[in-house]
Amino acid sequence: MIIGGALLVGATVVILGGCLLLILAVVAVRARRHSRTQRDEMLLSPLRRPLITVASGEDDDGAAAEQLTWAAGVSRAVLDRNIVELLTKIRGVPAEQLVHVLEVHGAVDAAVAEMSSRSAVKRARAAQLLGLARAGQTVPLLIDALGDEAVEVRNSAAYALGLIGDPAAAGPVLAAIGAPDRGLPAATAAEALQSMGVGISEVLRDGMADPNARTRMVAAHLSGERSFTRGLPELRGLLDADPDLTVRETSASAIGRLGRREDVGILVRHTVPSEPLELRRACVIALGDLGEAEAIPALAVLLDDSDPRLAELAATALLSMGPGGRDALAGHENDPAVRSARLLASLQKASA
């Protein structure tokens, strides 16, 4: 097998040249990172003291904030980046002072302009800045950004809308979860919606009828978290008939938090052995959370269930229901489930 010199030289040059280039790339990446960090440190150093003074709430006369407004050029850009980072951690007057610095720097207006930038990173950062600056007038712009092609922009827009807290944005945020190919991650949507006050209960009710399972799950979860009792009929419907098991479990937990006496029957209905085990357990926990005495007979029956965890959950629920619940444990004193639940309850009581 004879190989020509040209092929050999060509292959060797390509491979070795490639290796060399990659080594240079590693060096360049490190060097660039290092020089950027150093440059930012140098530019920020004269402004660090007033920045800390403002952020720590010690700028009583506003002199430090005033000093920050004087920053110009590249220093201003670096300072604004740091201010945005600080705004994620601080609240109250210091936050307002820092937002004022951003406004004087024109950063808020620039962010509005950057919402139409070609760079997804710039659009995302702009959206976050608008939220951190609580720029309520930009809500329509941020709602549009919920449909952005880049997920980080959609995330940032939802985050900003959550910070602004305008319930008018709740519908679009919830709807964005199920958008085909451009869906908003459920976790971001849930956090944003949680910050939007009580005005979103109707939106959540509508969300529980959405064709997208993630949307229904977020709506059900938040209805329970925020105790929006108006959503109870929808939650009952989801628990009964939703095609997605996760949605049904979430609905059961939500009913446990905000349900009423009449919900005992619905929850009990789904503790029967023909239901999925995870759902049965979720319903037993929900019955315990609900704390209605009507659940006691059904829970007592479950003490004999073939699933030891379900039996223990039933015993735990009964123990939390006062004398009536504890009486229902009679005759089961030697059951492992009951003994275990009792022991854990006593340990928790002792440590309380």
Binding site: M1, I2, I3, G4, G5, L7, L8, A11, T12, I15, L16, G18, C19, L22, A25, V26, V29, R30, T88, A120, V121, A124, R125, Q128, A150, V151, E152, S156, Y159, P185, A186, A187, T188, A190, E191, Q194, A213, R214, M217, H221, D244, L245, T246, L277, E278, D307, P308, R309, E312, P336, A337, R339, S340, L343, L344, L347, Q348, K349, S351, A352
Partner: protein, 482 residues
């Protein structure tokens, strides 16, 4: 037969072999390295999106939709580090998690250490039998303080897989994370790896986390305080392997929608799905791989819409073998597990209903993972032999070396650039030079040895030899290694 006759016979055989295989072998090496390069490019695209997300990340502390997690820790003779490990797991930043330790019949003081550190009391609890267990459970214990979310289960020794199955039965949260007792988790690791479940709660069934070697790093109280290079070359080379195959390879597969392997050192699963498929197979050598394949098969057979993702953010750090003996055991086990699982799921190959798993991931694993050592060994033997017998010229032999090993170094360096750009875990310049050196040294002796060990594992399975689990000698990493 005379010596000349033997040489002539050998020459004829090698000549015939070279005629038949020379081009395919070189093409194979080009393909295997190119496929890795493609995976790295895909991983780069994934990391670029990740970088964009990270640079624009909004704070998420797991409030709201973060599902509860049970950390499942099988422990066998882990008296030295188990208490520190459990303490560090309990203090991870996450809104709702519990730790379930299963003492798998340890003959040392593993349980006694836990009992003393956490003041354990026995609970008369009966474990659910959602996953059938053969070994006897000896007792279930919880801390006396009633607050610490720790459950310790003692059982007769029956192996890691069954210990994890017991832990799954004992777990009470909707997600279960399988981790080794000697692993170190990043403080925010759970937040990273559960995020896909929170973002897509109805579809996500499993996520794998990036695993890195911890050897040489400074660890204090179960936390890494300074990332350093390992002090010897065997773990240094493994660091390069982990980077190329585990981090970038799996990120690439995840991006392609064909992730079929989640490492046993850290994997997060929906508990109900793991229960539904029957838990880990205690008879399987590649139990982590087998579990993911079983999940894929079951969910695709049922036509369910689901997702399995890899999270490239560093999640878990693990001690890798430092001696050739332990490494040999590990590689034999890995390759045996690979073969047995691929064989068990051969019916999924090229079946439309298995989509990219059947058409892309599995054929790739057969061709470039399972057969790789066989073909590489053939090349290692035949090319020098042909050179010695004058069948090939020196330029051919060099070309073989360049394409087989030079290209492999290039692929590793590409992985290194991507890692440096995306994660930058090592501060010191010395680490860069050591990693580059390791990527070259990997091809001199190490790679050939692992080829042999992998074939040993495969061969022992074909012969039906019973697998004997070796002991992973831990050097420990608490406090400063210096």
């Amino acid at each position: 037969m005379s010596w000349d006759g033997f040489v002539e016979g050998l020459r004829s055989f090698v000549l015939w072999s070279m005629d038949v295989t020379a081009v395919p072998i070189i093409v194979y090496f080009i393909l295997i390295n190119t496929s890795l390069l493609v995976l790295i490019v895909l991983a780069y695209l994934g990391f670029r999106a990740q970088q964009r997300r990270r640079s624009t990340a909004v704070t998420w502390q797991g409030a709201g939709l973060a599902p509860g997690v049970s950390l499942l820790v099988p422990a066998y003779n882990e008296e030295a580090g188990i208490v520190m490990a459990v303490k560090s797991f309990l203090t991870l930043r996450y809104p709702r998690h519990e730790v379930v330790v299963v003492d798998d019949g340890s003959s040392d003081q593993t349980f006694a250490r836990l009992a003393e550190a956490f003041d354990l009391v026995q609970v008369p609890r009966e474990l659910p039998h959602e996953i059938p267990i053969r070994a006897k459970v000896l007792g279930i214990f919880v801390p006396r303080d009633g607050r610490t979310r720790l459950v310790v289960v003692r059982k007769e020794n029956s192996g890691r897989s069954e210990a994890i199955n017991v832990a799954i039965n004992a777990a009470s949260e909707p997600l279960v994370a399988m981790i080794d007792g000697d692993s170190i988790l990043e403080p925010d690791g759970l937040l990273h790896v559960t995020r896909p479940f929170a973002d897509d709660p109805t579809r996500m069934v499993a996520t794998g986390g990036a695993i890195r070697p911890v050897n040489g790093s400074r660890v204090v109280s179960g936390r890494i305080v300074r990332v350093e290079m390992p002090q010897t070359w065997i773990p240094r080379i493994q660091l390069v392997e982990y980077l190329r195959a585990f981090l970038l390879g799996r990120t690439g597969w995840s991006r392609l929608g064909g992730l079929i392997l989640i490492s046993g050192a850290f994997g997060l699963f929906r508990r109900d799905v793991v229960v539904e498929v029957g838990g880990l197979d205690p008879n399987s050598i590649g139990e982590d791989f087998e579990l993911v394949m079983r999940i894929h098969k079951r969910l695709r057979d049922e036509g369910r819409d689901y997702s399995i993702e890899f999270v490239p953010e560093p999640v878990s750090w693990t001690e890798v073998p430092v001696t050739a003996k332990v490494l040999r055991n590990q590689r034999r086990r890995w390759h045996r597990g690979l073969w047995e699982t691929l064989w068990a799921y051969r019916s999924m190959l090229f079946r439309p209903k298995y989509g990219r798993i059947g058409w892309l991931a599995l054929p790739y694993y057969w061709l470039f993972e399972l057969f790789a050592p066989l073909l590489e060994l053939f090349g290692i033997i035949i090319v020098p032999l042909a050179l010695a017998l004058g069948i090939v010229n020196v330029p051919f032999a060099i070309l073989f070396l360049v394409l087989a090993y030079g290209y492999a170094v290039l692929v590793t360096l590409a992985a290194m650039v991507v890692d440096e750009w995306a994660f930058h875990k090592h501060d010191r310049w010395r680490a860069v030079w050591q990693t580059i050196a390791a990527s070259i040294l990997e091809n001199i002796g190490y790679r050939q040895a692992t080829v042999w060990w992998r074939l040993e594992g495969w061969w022992s399975s074909l012969r039906g030899k019973k697998h004997v689990w070796g002991v992973m000698t831990r050097t420990g990493f608490d406090e400063d290694p210096a």
